[in-house]
């Protein structure tokens, strides 16, 4: 057995590298359907021809389930940005370009963004009925698109190889839906984790996609509510503020 290098430890899973594969091992009791669903989503995107790591297997492991995924050589955009801060703008541009390329794919087997968000908003705890009503109203006022949305398109999920080719990781949250929603998620993740890049990212995204800032912003209360469901205490204040907005009436 090759050496196991632990990459990430979370309450519900451990991620480690073992030779040429990455293993995502979920704790016992973690719902089986979630694991298989992630494998399914991943496989669907894989079949689209987009450059992503190949899924190797879904296996029982230590009383729970584990996904085995191909290991990809290269550095993540996140790491590249840390290594060369002076290149950040160029990397953000690259990030946007790749995101738009991903959005050019259609993987219709995936769940639609709006239905997924609907379910999440209906079940998220800690928001009052009026706010939930407003959020759902906002969500259902959106047009139904069918672009491939990664759902967590952040620099740490994009590997850039020396030859300039890329590979996009972690497809657990992918849906078929609105590119505006996907950009809103990226903007939100920047605002939460690396606020210095948030506005720059949004500017570049809107410039390159031709989408209006206002349209991406319309998704923010929705994606913020979905993010609230993850119950990260450090994010609560900002996200709560983001969701308490009203539409003109």
């Amino acid at each position: 057995m090759a050496n196991r290098i632990i990459l990430e430890e979370k309450p519900n899973k451990t991620v480690f590298r073992e030779g040429d594969v990455i293993i995502k091992e979920f704790v016992p009791g973690h719902p089986k359907e979630h694991v298989f669903n992630e494998a399914y989503i991943h496989s669907c995107v894989e079949a689209s021809g987009l450059s992503i790591p190949k899924i190797r297997s879904v296996v029982p492991s230590n009383g729970g389930w584990a996904l085995t995924i191909e290991y990809i050589e290269g550095k993540t955009l996140d790491r590249l940005m840390q290594e060369s801060p002076q290149m950040c703008e160029a990397y953000l541009e690259r990030l946007v370009d790749i995101q738009l390329e991903v959005g050019g794919y259609q993987v219709l087997q995936l769940r639609n963004t709006i239905s997924k968000m609907d379910q999440v908003i209906k079940s998220v705890e800690g928001i009052d009925a009026a706010t939930r009503y407003e959020l759902l109203q906002r969500l259902h006022g959106m047009k139904r698109h069918t672009r491939l949305c990664h759902g967590d398109f952040v620099p740490s999920n994009v590997i850039l190889r020396d030859d300039g080719s890329y590979c996009v990781l972690d497809w657990a949250h992918a849906t078929s839906g609105n590119a505006g929603a996907d950009a809103a998620i990226t903007y939100m993740r920047f605002s939460l984790d690396q606020p210095e890049y948030a506005e720059e990212y949004l500017r570049i995204f809107c410039e390159r996609s031709g989408m209006s800032v206002r349209y991406v912003q319309k998704w923010l209360p929705i994606v913020a509510a979905a993010q609230l469901a993850k119950k990260n205490p450090s994010e609560k204040e900002l996200l709560t503020q983001w969701i308490s907005v009203v539409e003109y009436q």
Binding site: D128, A129, A130, T131, R132, Y133, E134, L136, Q137, R138, L139, H140, G141, S212, V213, R214, Q217, K218, L220, P221, Q241, W242, S244, V245, V246, E247, Y248, Q249
Partner: protein
């Protein structure tokens, strides 16, 4: 009344049952009379009005937004103004009737209305919507916003209970007790129409439900204060509007653009009246507080200026009315350019009125166009008001009024419909652009009874007839009308043979100077008319005399048009019409320069009494058939002395033309009692006199005179009843194969008659007076008038055909087109084109049988080979 409606509606299942019960209630309500409905409307409005203060208190307590005293006004308005506006409006049964026109309008309810109620105006909107539904016999289910559900439901309950006490069916008003978006979507899907007041998301959901929706959208009302405005009134109006219910009315001003020269004055007035100008740092703080990621912070909606300032971390006097940020950017990223739903206002400075319009226009377009815009200005500045109205893509443009109170109508202008649901047009994604009222909640059935077309009978002002009348008629030009200059149009033959002489001599005796253009050729051309016109223009006549057969009269009519109206376009004038009274092109008025006299020398075209003329463009070969009562001669002089020496060929061709005119006018779909008598008389005169006129010419002056009368009578008939397919086909046959018009008519006459007489035509002509195919009966009238009677209609008709065939033979008409001398090759090579052009001829429309092109083609072929006319009866 408490039992079923008291049941709380909290689940989809309960809601579905509720909707079914409401539909039954509405079915009952639909049979209520106007009196019953008006009583319910009255009682419900009174009850809502009585409850205006408790409802206002409840709304503020529940939503934490707005001002109790202002909500009292809104509730009061929703009850009183809405009642007042519609108290005498008919909404049940027959609401409009015009027995003369045969039009009746009947109002019917739509059924079940779904009403989405906003948080900003919950009780007043609930009162408004329930009242207009009661007035229109609709059931209404309210979907409140969770933030305002209790007060919304209470308002609806008060109206509901009063309505039921006044006799309305139970469950006619309903509501969702525990609102959720799923339930709102369900009522929107299940109802018959949606009254959706709310934001863009709600409005989009309403429109995508698949049910008709009356929704409103976002607004971003920009106000402009012009240099000419009463600045004090303007500023205080804006403050009054902006502070009303803490800025929550959708039409409220979001920004004000002030012209540079009154900027300081306006600023001082704002300050003096308790508004607070934020410095740039404060403005940034307030901006960040009111707008989050481009959306309005829910916490600031309907709060006071002081509370909002506190949230932003700045201190302002407690009684501050409005927070004002002086800004320059109109981009979405500028919070003060945004809609704010609170007493916060953006203020812009403009160097010119044009610049102010630019700013206001950008703000409207950025904020979502369609809602409302406002202008303060001297009312005499009409041009600026017009410019502003032209530029703003908003459905309400209010001048010199607080826009909150102004936009909802009937408060600052009494013709603007009072309403709490304001349409934003297609700009706002709405189906309507006006203030919603009861008429939007009705299905109007229009009952239209069959009526006959209006007809008229048009003739020249004067028709002189009887032998020797020319002298008397011309005398009138001098002694009565005092005309000075006469222009005569005729052809070379008539001129050289002295026909014009007596007229010229008479004119000389009266001292009327005259000139003569005698160069008109048969089938007159535009070039010929232009030449005549050139002479006419230099002569400047005040009377025109057209003397001759059809060609000089047509040419003179054209010259007359061009003389009076040099800029006319023949292509426009020649455009086909379905009904001469509804034609697109309006003919210019004739007779301002010259009086038009027609003197026929043949019998005839009837052109002296008809509003028609045909002119050919020599260059292109195009024939322009002109038809309009403006082309009617003013005077016709039918004097057989001018017709005595017509050559035989002309007597024959124009004589049979008269017969065709009379027959076609008699069977036309537009034939009427006014034209029937003269058409019949004309047929008899032709049958009785044409053979002798043809054989004996001037030796039988009586026959000549009868033919002259026949020609004019037939002209009068077809000038008013029009012609038919016979003429359509003859026009093209004549044009393609150079056959004289009358002969061409004769060659197809009996075929077309057989074809028309078919009692089972493929299609009949469209005209209200033409009720069923009856050409056969009409032809039989003609037969009997001429003394022909068979055992039945068919036999009688056969006798008429025989008599016509005999007449044709007597006057030397060939028996077929081929016999006339048209080669088969020539004929067949033009057949398809002739067919289509004949179909498209102006005369086709009045034919009793609407012809298919294939049928016209068959008729042409039968007439070409001289087949038995009975074959045409089978088409």
């Amino acid at each position: 009344m408490k039992n079923e409606n008291a049941k709380k509606i909290t689940t989809v299942n309960e809601l579905e049952k509720k909707l079914r019960r409401m539909r039954l209630a509405q079915e009952k309500f639909a049979s209520f009379s106007q009196e019953q409905v008006d009583r319910i409307f009255f009682e419900a409005a009174m009850a809502a009005n009585k409850a205006r203060i408790p409802l206002a208190k409840m709304a503020v307590a529940e939503t934490g937004m707005g001002v109790v005293e202002d909500k009292v006004i809104k509730n009061h308005y929703a009850a009183e103004y809405i009642y007042h506006a519609y108290r005498s409006t008919k909404t049940c049964g027959v609401i409009e009737e015009d027995p003369a026109a045969g039009i009746m309008k009947i109002a019917e309810p739509i059924g079940l209305i779904a009403a989405v109620i906003p948080t900003t105006n919950p009780t007043s909107t609930a009162i408004f919507k329930t009242l207009i539904c009661l007035k229109t016999r609709n059931a209404i289910i309210l979907s409140p916003h969770p933030r305002a559900k209790d007060c919304t439901i209470d308002a609806a309950r008060i109206v509901y209970e009063a309505a039921v006490r006044a006799g309305a069916p139970e469950e006619i008003i309903g509501w969702i007790d525990e609102p959720s978006l799923d339930m709102t979507n369900l009522v929107m899907r299940e109802c018959d129409c949606i009254l959706a007041t709310g934001g863009p998301g709600m409005v989009r959901a309403a429109y995508s439900s698949g049910k008709p929706a009356l929704g409103v959208g976002a607004g971003n009302t920009p106000a402009i204060i012009d240099s000419s405005a009463d600045v004090r009134m303007a500023v205080n109006s804006i403050i009054h509007s902006k502070t009303f219910d803490n800025g929550m009315i959708c039409a409220s001003e979001q920004s004000v653009t002030v012209l540079e020269d009154v900027y300081e004055e306006a600023r001082k007035e704002f300050e003096a009246r308790g508004c607070y100008f934020l410095d740039p740092k404060e403005a940034r703080k307030v901006g960040r507080t009111i707008i989050i990621n481009g959306a309005v912070n829910a916490k600031i909606v309907g709060q006071t200026a002081a509370e909002i300032a506190k949230m932003a971390g700045i201190e302002v006097p407690e009684r501050t009315k409005v927070l004002i940020g002086e800004v320059t950017s109109t981009r979405v990223t500028e919070p003060f350019a945004h809609e704010k739903l609170s007493p916060v206002l953006g203020m812009y400075k403009a160097g010119t009125f044009e610049e102010a319009l630019d700013i206001a226009e950008k703000l409207v377009m950025e904020g979502g166009p369609g809602h409302t815009s406002s202008l303060f200005i001297n009312p005499d500045e009409k041009e600026k008001i017009r410019q502003h109205a032209e530029r703003m893509k908003t459905c309400r443009i209010v001048i010199n009024m607080p826009s909150s109170q102004g936009g909802i109508g009937d408060l600052y202008n009494f013709k603007l419909t009072p309403s709490l649901t304001l349409g934003c047009g297609s700009w706002g994604g709405n189906s309507i652009s006006h203030n919603v009222g009861v008429m939007d909640l009705l299905n109007i059935k229009t009952v239209a009874e069959r009526r006959e077309n209006m007809l008229w009978f048009r003739l020249p002002e004067k028709v002189y007839f009887k032998r020797g009348c020319t002298e008397t008629a011309l005398d009138e030009l001098g002694s009565v009308m005092h005309r000075k200059k006469c222009f005569i149009v005729t052809d070379t033959f008539l001129y050289q043979n002295g026909y014009v002489k007596p007229i010229e001599e008479k004119l000389d005796r009266m001292g009327i100077t005259h000139a003569c253009f005698y160069d008109v050729s048969p089938d007159p051309t535009l070039q010929c008319a232009r030449e005549g016109l050139r002479q006419m223009n230099s002569f400047e006549p005040d009377v025109i005399i057209a003397m001759g057969g059809g060609s000089p009269m047509d040419a003179a009519k054209i010259m007359w048009v061009m003389y009076e109206h040099p800029d006319v376009n023949f292509e426009d004038m020649a455009m086909n019409f379905m009904d001469i009274r509804k034609r697109i092109y309006v003919y210019p008025e004739m007779g301002k320069k010259a009086y038009f006299v027609a003197v026929p020398t043949s019998s005839g075209t009837g052109s002296e009494v008809t509003p028609f003329a045909i002119i050919t463009d020599e260059k292109t070969g195009t024939k322009w058939p002109l038809a309009d009562y403006e082309l009617m001669p003013d005077m016709a002089i039918v004097d057989v002395d001018n017709m005595m020496n017509q050559p035989k060929g002309l007597t024959s061709a124009s004589g049979i033309d008269v017969m065709t005119h009379a027959l076609e006018a008699y069977v036309s779909v537009m034939a009427s009692d006014m034209t029937d008598g003269i058409a019949l008389k004309a047929t008899k005169l032709v049958f009785d006199n044409l053979p002798s006129a043809y054989l004996n010419g001037a030796k039988d002056p009586v026959a000549r005179e009868h033919m002259a009368m026949a020609s004019t009578l037939a002209g009068e008939a077809f000038a008013n009843a029009f012609l038919g397919l016979n003429h359509s086909m003859a026009h093209k046959l004549g044009a393609y194969h150079h056959i004289p018009h009358g002969v061409a008519n004769a060659l197809v006459l009996t075929y077309v008659m057989r074809y028309n007489a078919n009692p089972v035509p493929v299609k009949m002509g469209t005209f209200p007076q033409y009720q069923y195919p009856h050409a056969l009966e009409r032809y039989c009238d003609v037969a009997r008038y001429n003394g022909l009677a068979g055992k039945n209609d068919q036999e009688t008709f056969d006798l008429l055909i025989d008599k016509l065939e005999e007449l044709k033979k007597t006057i030397g008409i060939p028996s077929s087109i081929r016999e006339y001398g048209i080669s088969e090759e020539d004929f067949l090579s033009t057949l398809d084109e002739m067919t289509e052009n004949a179909f498209n001829d102006q005369c086709t429309g009045a034919n009793p049988r609407y012809p298919l092109m294939s049928e016209i083609r068959q008729l042409y072929l039968l007439a070409y080979y001289g087949k038995d006319t009975k074959e045409a009866a089978l088409i």
